[in-house]
């Protein structure tokens, strides 16, 4: 696989030159934080963010997305027949993705792309995307990717990886898509063994120094009903506001709602992010709600990520350790602590 080294200025210039091949998205400063935006909106590009406030999942799975369009005009012979909404699935490059967010794509794929059903929008949007990662030289105190199967230089889910070497970026292709991306980038020089070694050693050092703080090893073997009935859920949930911050910021939360909207005789069916924190999420037409209580909804979120997912797929947890929910939960409900409670739980003790 190809490797290239760019001076930082040359790299920024090269990204600007990709427009005819890709729609390029990258983290841009947006007020107090960073958000993935098209490169055309960039006033200044700097790769010095911890991470974006929202994960890049919205580029693949937008908060609101048109699924179908239809006419309700009785004169229209095609009235009431749903047509797929047109989409732009031309190639796009998502540049500067932190490894946790790329790892999340693989975790979410199991939901949207499985042997029985494939979600056409998610699948096509992912196929159109080239993920160019940025290794983390300085993981945050709230990061715990290493505890959940990833790491600050984890390559899973990435097509290419940038390594920040101070005044230069080493960019390594990891997949065919990444190879193609790198072939389209102008400038840079082939990386020599010395640079590669420098990058390897940096990755190794950062990974080794990152603490592995969140235990997940026992989750798989603990009985599901024991965890479900564990005594700590009321206490964990007390402060929860039942807002959607954790789920909306999360790179691995995929739940959605489907809604129809009509204006005059035109209609659309769209899907919107939804959240297990909202009571409406599970409310039956009869008025019965299986998760009527706040603690039940909080329990669902953690059990889904840390137990149901583990049981369903037999591999990994539904969390990539990005730490967004830890940092931005308005009431400081910390998944690291909850995971610790679950993992250490002794049924009947």
């Amino acid at each position: 696989m190809a490797n290239k080294v760019f001076s930082k200025d040359a790299w920024l210039e090269a990204l600007g030159g990709l427009k005819e091949h890709y729609r390029v998205f990258l983290p841009l400063k947006d007020g107090d934080f960073f958000t993935y935006k098209p490169i055309e909106e960039a006033k200044k590009i700097h790769f010095d963010y911890d991470n974006t406030r929202l994960s890049p999942k919205g580029l693949i799975f937008p908060q609101s997305e048109r699924m179908f369009e239809f006419s309700l005009d009785t004169q229209d012979p095609e009235a009431n027949i749903l047509k797929e909404a047109p989409k732009d699935d031309s190639p796009r490059a998502i540049v500067g993705v932190r490894p946790c967010d790329a790892h999340a794509v693989g975790l979410v794929r199991r939901n949207f792309d499985n042997p029985e059903y494939r979600d056409p929008w998610w699948v096509k949007h992912v196929e159109a995307a080239t993920y160019v990662g940025l290794g983390c030289n300085a993981p945050c105190a709230t990061c715990f990717c290493k505890s959940v199967g990833g790491g600050p230089f984890n390559e899973e889910g990435l097509d290419a990886m940038m390594v920040d070497l101070g005044d230069r970026f080493l960019v390594r292709a990891l997949t065919e898509k990444g190879e193609e991306f790198l072939s389209r980038v102008q400038g840079g020089e082939a990386a020599d063994e010395e640079v590669l070694k420098e990058a390897r050693e940096l990755a190794q050092k950062v990974t080794d120094e990152m603490p592995d703080t969140v235990p997940t090893g026992r989750l798989k073997d603990l009985p599901v009903m024991a965890l479900f009935e564990a005594p700590f859920w009321e206490e964990v949930a007390f402060a929860c506001l039942n807002c959607g911050t954790c789920t909306y910021l999360c790179p691995t939360c995929w739940c959605f709602d489907i809604q129809d909207e009509v204006y005059k005789t035109e209609g659309i069916r769209l899907r919107n992010w939804d959240s297990c924190m909202f009571p409406l999420f599970t409310l039956h037409g009869s008025g019965h709600n299986p998760r009527d209580q706040k603690f039940q909804r909080v329990r669902q979120r953690f059990m889904h990520k840390l137990k149901y997912y583990v049981d369903k797929y037999g591999d990994g947890v539904q969390c990539s350790g990005c730490g967004r929910c830890v940092q931005f939960c308005p009431v400081n409900i910390d998944i690291r602590r909850v995971c610790g409670l679950m993992d250490a739980y002794e049924p009947g003790a």
Binding site: L54, A141, C243, G244, P330
Partner: protein
């Protein structure tokens, strides 16, 4: 705020032990800097988890609704005004509460601090008296707390609780000469189109996560208007008109009830200043009805009662 913390623990322990209250609602120290977690304590042996500092900016009144026990609760000026509002609106009974009053000199604006250190990761933020000492991997910075207050606290005129059973310390002097509505006035001076642009830009990042609504003690309806499906008042996507409808109506439901506690802004994951909506209503309530919410149990709120001399210039 070590003296407040010690005193809070002492009071909570006493109340739980002597049976004055069955539960005590306060804060525990958070797992990340500038974040404390509301906590409910039943056992007097757990009072040492209670904590107080300048990062207790949520509104604990939120946790009272639909509780049936005898409750001990911490209350700053604004929190106590929300408790009063809760009592007036029959959400809790006065007899159910033991209110532990906190003379408050304001909460720290965690976003302002983060901004002031250039957006760098903050590893610790410790309060030492009037100062906040903030440390990161490669920096240390000391702030005067009064320079980094939440914007609602900076213009607060009711720092001392209005309804208490016991105070943790002597009242603090109220701020004189604050101009609480300067920002509202600057919007009032705009042309309609500019105002629309101002508010459109203000909420453009909104995710409809409803943290603002849910952090607000005034929002306790069993089903919120945004969740109703029959009729569906507002669309559920992130369409800008629907988002504006949500913010406009959410604010409107707070008319004459908002204490400007700032919880809505504090919790917003994308930093929207939604107090720009509610403050206009507060200003009108004050100018047209001489009303500030939650100052007394003795008077019904202006939107609750009719008086022949009510402001009615808008009716033709």
């Amino acid at each position: 705020m070590i003296q407040y913390t010690d005193k809070i623990r002492e009071i909570a322990g006493r109340l739980l032990k002597d049976g004055t209250v069955e539960v005590f609602i306060g804060y525990r120290k958070g797992t990340v800097p500038m974040m404390n977690e509301p906590v409910l304590i039943r056992d007097p042996d757990q009072v040492d988890t209670l904590h107080w500092d300048v990062n207790c900016g949520l509104n604990l009144c939120n946790y009272l609704t639909r509780r049936t026990e005898k409750i001990g609760i911490l209350a700053t000026g604004c929190n106590s005004r929300n408790i009063v509002t809760h009592i007036i609106e029959n959400q809790i009974k006065r007899e159910q509460l033991y209110i532990v009053g906190i003379p408050c000199t304001g909460m720290v604006d965690h976003r302002a601090v983060k901004r002031a250190v250039g957006g760098k990761e903050i590893l610790s933020a410790e309060q030492q008296g009037e100062k906040l000492i903030v440390k990161g991997a490669d920096f240390e910075k000391t702030f005067e707390i009064k320079e980094i207050l939440q914007s609602n606290c900076a213009v607060c005129r009711h720092r001392n609780p209005v309804e208490v059973d016991e105070m943790v310390a002597d009242p603090v002097p109220e701020q004189e000469g604050v101009e609480p509505y300067k920002d509202v006035e600057s919007v009032e001076g705009m042309e309609p189109r500019k105002k629309w642009e101002f508010f459109t830009r203000l909420i453009s990042r909104c995710l409809r996560c409803y943290a603002c609504r849910n952090a607000c003690p005034l929002c306790y309806c069993p089903t919120c208007f945004v969740d109703e499906s029959r009729p569906q008042w507002v669309g559920k996507s992130n369409d800008p008109t629907d988002t504006m409808t949500f913010h406009f109506l959410r604010a409107y439901h707070c008319a004459g009830r908002c204490t400007d506690c700032g919880a809505c802004e504090r919790v917003c994951p994308v930093g929207i200043s939604m107090r720009q909506f509610t403050k206009k209503l507060n200003k009108d309530a004050e100018e047209l009805f001489s009303w500030e919410a939650g100052l007394t149990l003795e008077q019904r709120p202006p939107l609750d009662v009719y008086r022949p001399d009510d402001y009615n210039d808008f009716i033709k």
